[in-house]
Symmetry: D3
Subunit: 257 residues, 6 copies
Amino acid sequence: MEKRILFINPIASSSYDDEIREYLKAGKCQDTIIKVVSLERGPLHLDYHYYETLVLTDILHLVKQAEEEGYDGAIIGCFLDSALEAAREITHRLVVAAPAESCMLIAASLGHSFSIIVTKDKALTRIRDNVVKYGFKDRLALFKSVALGVRDLQEDRTEAATRIKELAKEAVERDLAEVIILGCTIQFGFYKELQQDVGVPVLDAILATLKYAELMIELKKRFNWGQSKAYSYESPPRDEIIDWKLEEQYGVKGIWS
Amino acid sequence: MEKRILFINPIASSSYDDEIREYLKAGKCQDTIIKVVSLERGPLHLDYHYYETLVLTDILHLVKQAEEEGYDGAIIGCFLDSALEAAREITHRLVVAAPAESCMLIAASLGHSFSIIVTKDKALTRIRDNVVKYGFKDRLALFKSVALGVRDLQEDRTEAATRIKELAKEAVERDLAEVIILGCTIQFGFYKELQQDVGVPVLDAILATLKYAELMIELKKRFNWGQSKAYSYESPPRDEIIDWKLEEQYGVKGIWS
Amino acid sequence: MEKRILFINPIASSSYDDEIREYLKAGKCQDTIIKVVSLERGPLHLDYHYYETLVLTDILHLVKQAEEEGYDGAIIGCFLDSALEAAREITHRLVVAAPAESCMLIAASLGHSFSIIVTKDKALTRIRDNVVKYGFKDRLALFKSVALGVRDLQEDRTEAATRIKELAKEAVERDLAEVIILGCTIQFGFYKELQQDVGVPVLDAILATLKYAELMIELKKRFNWGQSKAYSYESPPRDEIIDWKLEEQYGVKGIWS
Amino acid sequence: MEKRILFINPIASSSYDDEIREYLKAGKCQDTIIKVVSLERGPLHLDYHYYETLVLTDILHLVKQAEEEGYDGAIIGCFLDSALEAAREITHRLVVAAPAESCMLIAASLGHSFSIIVTKDKALTRIRDNVVKYGFKDRLALFKSVALGVRDLQEDRTEAATRIKELAKEAVERDLAEVIILGCTIQFGFYKELQQDVGVPVLDAILATLKYAELMIELKKRFNWGQSKAYSYESPPRDEIIDWKLEEQYGVKGIWS
Amino acid sequence: MEKRILFINPIASSSYDDEIREYLKAGKCQDTIIKVVSLERGPLHLDYHYYETLVLTDILHLVKQAEEEGYDGAIIGCFLDSALEAAREITHRLVVAAPAESCMLIAASLGHSFSIIVTKDKALTRIRDNVVKYGFKDRLALFKSVALGVRDLQEDRTEAATRIKELAKEAVERDLAEVIILGCTIQFGFYKELQQDVGVPVLDAILATLKYAELMIELKKRFNWGQSKAYSYESPPRDEIIDWKLEEQYGVKGIWS
Amino acid sequence: MEKRILFINPIASSSYDDEIREYLKAGKCQDTIIKVVSLERGPLHLDYHYYETLVLTDILHLVKQAEEEGYDGAIIGCFLDSALEAAREITHRLVVAAPAESCMLIAASLGHSFSIIVTKDKALTRIRDNVVKYGFKDRLALFKSVALGVRDLQEDRTEAATRIKELAKEAVERDLAEVIILGCTIQFGFYKELQQDVGVPVLDAILATLKYAELMIELKKRFNWGQSKAYSYESPPRDEIIDWKLEEQYGVKGIWS
């Protein structure tokens, strides 16, 4: 069953697109086809509420356009799961996945508790809100922060790896975490070695989301189990969108036609 | 103590600006100065996640600009409290208030439980998430929905008033609500008569937020109790914003300088 | 990627084995191979704690044996998720899935709330305990019980279908459920028509678990993300099992060797 | 708008009355008029359940009498919020505020989490019960106790200040508290220097309550939003009180007439 | 093992003392000795916060005096568990029991959920606070209120019995309550017939507390498991009480000597 | 009132039976008659889910047989409360008690918080699930693990005692536990000295359950307050059990006749 997926790296830089594409390729199912895009404008990381807010509208329009172009699924490639609910609201046929939700849903069946390793202390509150919302508050074996911005993390990967390993060990030994989640999509590539070192499953945010997206597409295509259109994800009426000229106002002519 | 407040009606229509201005005027403290603005683009109501997402960036830039222009406070005039956290993150001197938070904080000291009357069933999940986030899950005496869109509500105010009254009575008598919150800023003007009819305090989303904003400004000016700049509301570094040319990209040249 | 799965129908009757096998066949991935088994002794349904307790040991030994025989996954085919944790504890290479967990993890990404339709009121407490344990207490839009024993449900499928449809509609319209879960594996086959009638995704306990099991096997084989062996699912030491002659005592000679 | 407030220091000593009066004066609005009283009998601190119980009736009668004398608001000056609910039950026109509630409601809009610095470990359970009751359990970034009785705290203010500062720093740096609440009314005067030292808002229990009381009076006078008289705060019938001669029995002749 | 118990009916009327005494006698263990007392002043029921507050101090002094006189246990005979924590704080050798706590602890081992039948809607919030505090929030199968004041309940026992029976049936059939708790000590005598009618255990507040008190005394005498004197129930220092002349001030000369 | 109790030590070794019998004898009421039994097959400890599962059916049949033989109560002698719910489901006249539930219900009235000292980290999750289920999550002052298997604990009792004492002290001093629960039935005999050392009540799992069982029998015999037969503990129909030949299949001929 063919599965066409758009992976959105929601920052204004395409530097990581190639690397991510190769990474996804190695993990995908045979009949999955993936395109990786980043944004045309915006910040280079989403460590602040403000930066995240700036990219939300552009993410949504990319998702909607992907649906128009026949994609089966979209991945919002940031551990904040930015715009996830709105993206599910505006789509019908296409399904949407995001890292924090995917990782936690998978972790839930691998162990009783998990620890999330995030970049900076500031991210804790934001991500914790999602842990609570997704229902996993009682499964969280404390957070750990590497105290490195997303960009530092990219620039000195050896230092990052060392710190992450220390935190992961501490999470398992002291906080009794049974699963580790790497809470930033830019920590990709670390999981394999790490999981040998600490002896418990270490979830990679990109690969976990890829697999969850493939499952969701499978469920949608086989059984028509896609996003419910009752209440939370009920779509806005196309007429209103056209009447109000939202396409013109936000420079996305044609995506709602 | 002078208090300069910007009230943002976050929709692309100025039709209600005058009415809201007069309404605020009648409720404000003597030395409070209020300006009401609406948006230059966007939807006419925020009943969908998508519509709400579209206006977030513009709300933030209005708030930031207000701080630059010397305002003491900003009110985000929608019961979804859209962009509230990000607005508090990007400001230092100015304080930000929003209706759901203000109403619940006030309701908390007037009774043991409250009921929120919202426009449509779809809004319930969205607003309930905020009730939980603000800590008032156990105080919520069930939701009520008038099953009217924001616009219907404006157009047939008599019908709306009748339905709201019925729901409010039911909330008090059957669900044992001790306080009623009108969960939409467009329900303004209804509270006075309603509260005589049902015999418990009925909070008006616009007036409650005005008063909470005045309190917050007073606290900030007298005791320097403004938004904490540790973690959640730590501001993004100005340098990055300039470097990345975010002002140019989003058409708001000058607000971060 | 080949996926060998053992589906255990944990009752002492093979009457449904063929039907379930065909049903699974129609829903499985191409390279998935499934065997369906039932028990050699025990009750004919698990509506009582006592009946459930009687079958636990036999389920575990079937799972362990399946691992020995090279299966990649096991499905415990009862919505009580009987023996799920113990089954994950005693296996290393094979992964274990069960209906309630699988359905809720899937429902979590399709809507904000779900309703579970169970057989009898007595089952509510038992299943609710699992809802809470899995973290979905706040997503549960009330339970519904068809007030039919598992066996009645099998015998008069038309009556059952009518009752389930009524309850599902009520769940969506009155309780604002966004997804329906059919909380009994014997309700298989109902979902397709039902989901057209009620207009929201209706999860079938057998198919949902099949797909979740396939995902888990994929994750295990590709990334070695299997059940964590730290704490909760740490396996008992083989030496002890042999020393204490547990194999002989419970008539399962050879499965731990 | 004139606001007449009675501040009750609920201990049998007037030693702090003057100091508190001056402190309140410096923080109040221009048209606020404040009287400070303490009790005629009772203990000198409320560190034990027993001591607190002894003063409850006298607090209530002072509050009721204040209402009779035309006061607009009453402040119960102890961080245990002693008799708060009963005080709201017996009053109609006058509104009642208390420190723990006021501080938490204000803290809620200044940051995502707060830490309360209390006098002794024994107080933790008692105050934590209130944190839970007010809905802020998930916002509490651990408690800190200075391990000093209320009286020690008064006698060696330098030592107290040093300990409080250490705890506040630890709360911010290690527990990620975004706001500090000084959980004892006798810690007044410390907040200003402290908040410069630790860099986050430090709420003073007396000033926060004063401001919250002023807000409540404003809301009552302008919009008639006072304590709800439905259920929790429904007043006892005057007839019963007179019939049973409660005024005579408790030596408060005339306050219910 | 002899068990001397003081039962305090915390209202200013001895009308029920005899009846309660006979009732307790019929339910007590052979070597249990019981004295029933009521208060010398105060209200005739505790349906309001105010009335409850008035009696707290007198309850405490009766309990303390009972300890002085060699009693082994005290029962605070009101379903609000008034002054329970303070009573445990001031006693060392004597143990204290109260109805709501005793009933819930017993109900917890008899069924998965219980329903409490209270006198008036106003009591719901107050009692619900205790349900939450004692940890049984998730076991509460909704409240029921007979909408009768404590006194009406006494005066027309036939009408009361009819209403209670209806509510109890509804609780079992519709709310799936597995145990019924009669949430008022004045409902004594109803349980026996009721439990035959509804077919589930119906707990009588007086008898349940008597039995729990006997258990607590047994535990204290045999194993020295009495109220913990660490933190919450740490007793106030006798010296302070004497120094401050609390005995004289509250007219209880001699009870702390 | 005579109370006949069967104490089941659910492991396949009678080595501890005599010692436990003597221990129970010293703690029981005069008219209580106790028999201690262990299992005929199975593991020697229940530290793994697998081991626990193996013994469940045999526990149930012992309990059922005890009812047939006229026992009034059964105690399941393992801190996991294994098979407790099923045992209550299959019995009518006999009541069932188990250590974790009994200890927590007693601890609840002795202090505000408790700490449980368990054998190994692995047990934490399992026992914590019960703490949550019984409603005491907010009263748990952290767990402590002595990091000794049940068997090590038996073999080197001096070492065990030393470690337990250290942990108990830490629990009281650092985690503010007000009561200590020894979370393993094999820790019997330790409580007396320990409670002198740490100064708070230390609950012994065997004695606490004995006393709770005596209370339950008293309640059953005097007031007919036994396990509710509505919903959760509704018994399976005898006819089905006979029809399905469950007695023959599980080698317990005659216990349901």
